[in-house]
């Protein structure tokens, strides 16, 4: 069974999205440390599938195909699954729309052979994954900023859960990478 990794930037006040903005660039945080970028690229190249909610999919599909950034190649080359009950067309190459029950869809994907899957959010999709306990690993980049207003990484949980810290690492841009896996039991 392959892993589902949730990888997101998070503000110090626990938010993953600022209203009307997308990602750390809209948060007023410094340029990304090249060492962190290298780490994320390694992860990207080791992944087998991208998972996204509808809004994030549409934003990324409108951005990566014309980007010449290093991130663009693995973002464009790997197959994607977009989770949406309303979307009828997904034109970013190698995209599939999953419109069924989220837990069932994810379980089926986990049972397929292949390399690990990275879920990129957005907030609503990430909240659902945590609520349904579908995340096998969290890779959170804690940015040195409090936003004050936005959408939280965790919301609507029906019970608490405990994690094991696998790794924490500070980067020169002030970001701190936290890697967690759900604790056994």
């Amino acid at each position: 069974v392959r892993k589902l990794v949730l990888q997101m930037g998070v503000s110090l006040d626990g938010l993953v999205a600022r209203p009307g903005e997308f990602g750390a660039g809209g948060w007023g945080v410094p340029p990304e440390d090249p060492a962190l970028k290298a780490r994320k690229l390694d992860w990207l190249r080791a992944a087998g599938l991208h998972l996204m909610g509808r809004a994030t999919y549409e934003e990324m599909a409108g951005f990566w195909p014309s980007s010449d950034d290093e991130y663009a190649k693995p973002m464009n080359d790997l197959p994607k699954v977009v989770f949406s009950k309303t979307l009828t067309r997904a034109e970013w190459p190698d995209s599939t729309i999953a419109s069924g029950n989220l837990a069932d869809e994810i379980s089926a994907l986990k049972r397929e052979p292949g390399k690990d899957m990275i879920a990129w959010g957005g907030a609503t999709f990430a909240q659902s994954l945590s609520r349904l306990r579908l995340v096998d690993e969290y890779r959170l980049v804690l940015q040195p900023v409090a936003l004050g207003d936005g959408l939280p990484l965790f919301a609507g949980l029906t019970s608490p859960f405990v994690l094991d810290l696998i790794e924490a690492k500070a980067y020169s841009d002030g970001a701190v990478l936290h890697v967690y896996r759900p604790a056994a039991g």
């Binding site: 990888q7 930037g9 110090l12 006040d13 626990g14 600022r18 903005e21 997308f22 990602g23 750390a24 660039g25 809209g26 007023g28 945080v29 410094p30 340029p31 990304e32 440390d33 090249p34 970028k37 994320k40 934003e59 990324m60 951005f63 990566w64 980007s67 010449d68 950034d69 290093e70 991130y71 990129w120 945590s130 959170l140 804690l142 040195p144 900023v145 409090a146 936003l147 004050g148 207003d149 990484l153 965790f154 949980l157 029906t158 608490p160 859960f161 405990v162 994690l163 094991d164 810290l165 924490a168 690492k169 500070a170 980067y171 020169s172 841009d173 002030g174 701190v176 936290h178 967690y180």
Partner: protein, 270 residues
């Protein structure tokens, strides 16, 4: 005085009732004591050394009452927390209390921001805030916090009062130091670095934000803000035996910036 904020947080940002259940508060929170499983030797050393560096405390009403009830009963002269907390001045922020009885406690009344600013001007050393989330947000709003010491615990509660609740004044911070305890708590030390400077679409096209961002960080460096904690021996001692992390060599100031790096992927930074 330098004003420092120490806060025990869950990964979802909850700070309340970390040490024990507090049913007397009648606030519906049933997960009190969530921090206890993570209290190990590393945490003990780290937090005891922080408290040892205090010269006075600034507390909200709830935290004051919790501390007063507990620490005033701890009379062991060998307890480094109790001796400091019982002996040192404690400034208490409350609109409901009319007197405070714990030794060396004083009520701060009236214009809170003005009173705290006056304390900071008049006295030397370190003024420590523990807990007191509402007070912390007020201090943030008025730019009175000089350092945040956040202890992020590997647990997600799903409810409870958060330190940085909705409506927190937006703040850019500079990461000063980071350590991990043996039970997976990550201590992150920050100092304020002004307001976030958001990358707008217009500024992106003009390249203006890159310049602003670089100058902001360059200004921080040249203003002589400490990159490390050598000026605070107690802090360094507290960190000495903890597992070190790679930490801030000041790369932003010393390496050439790949401008493209900020303009494109940062917008789509995941």
């Amino acid at each position: 005085m330098r004003l420092t904020v120490t806060s025990h947080l869950t990964l979802d940002g909850v700070m309340q009732s970390n040490g024990k259940p507090e049913p007397e508060l009648n606030d519906g929170f049933e997960q009190g004591g969530w921090q206890v499983p993570y209290f190990d030797q590393d945490m003990d050393r780290l937090t005891a050394d922080w408290i040892a560096a205090a010269d006075a405390f600034l507390l909200g009403r709830r935290t004051y009452e919790l501390f007063a009830n507990y620490w005033s009963q701890v009379t062991d002269p060998g307890d480094p927390r109790a001796t400091r907390l019982n002996a040192l001045p404690k400034y208490v922020v409350s609109t409901t209390l009319d007197r405070v009885q714990w030794h060396n406690s004083m009520l701060l009344q009236g214009d809170l921001a003005g009173e705290v600013a006056k304390l900071k001007r008049q006295l030397g050393g370190e003024l420590q805030v523990h807990g007191s989330a509402e007070l912390v947000r007020t201090l943030m709003k008025h730019g009175l916090v000089d350092e945040y010491r956040l202890l992020i615990h590997p647990v997600v509660l799903g409810n409870g009062k958060r330190l940085f609740a909705d409506g927190t004044t937006p703040a850019a911070l500079e990461l000063i130091d980071t350590k991990i305890t043996s039970r997976g708590v990550v201590a992150q030390i920050y100092q304020p670095s002004g307001k976030p400077q958001y990358l707008s679409a217009a500024a992106e096209q003009e390249g203006g934000v890159v310049k602003d961002s670089v100058s902001r960080h360059a200004a921080t460096r040249s203003a002589g803000q400490p990159h490390q904690m050598q000026h605070r021996p107690a802090d360094r001692a507290g960190f000495a035996r903890l597992k070190p992390m790679q930490c801030r060599p000041g790369l932003i100031a010393t390496t050439g910036l790949d401008v493209r790096l900020f303009i494109t992927p940062a917008i789509r930074d995941f």
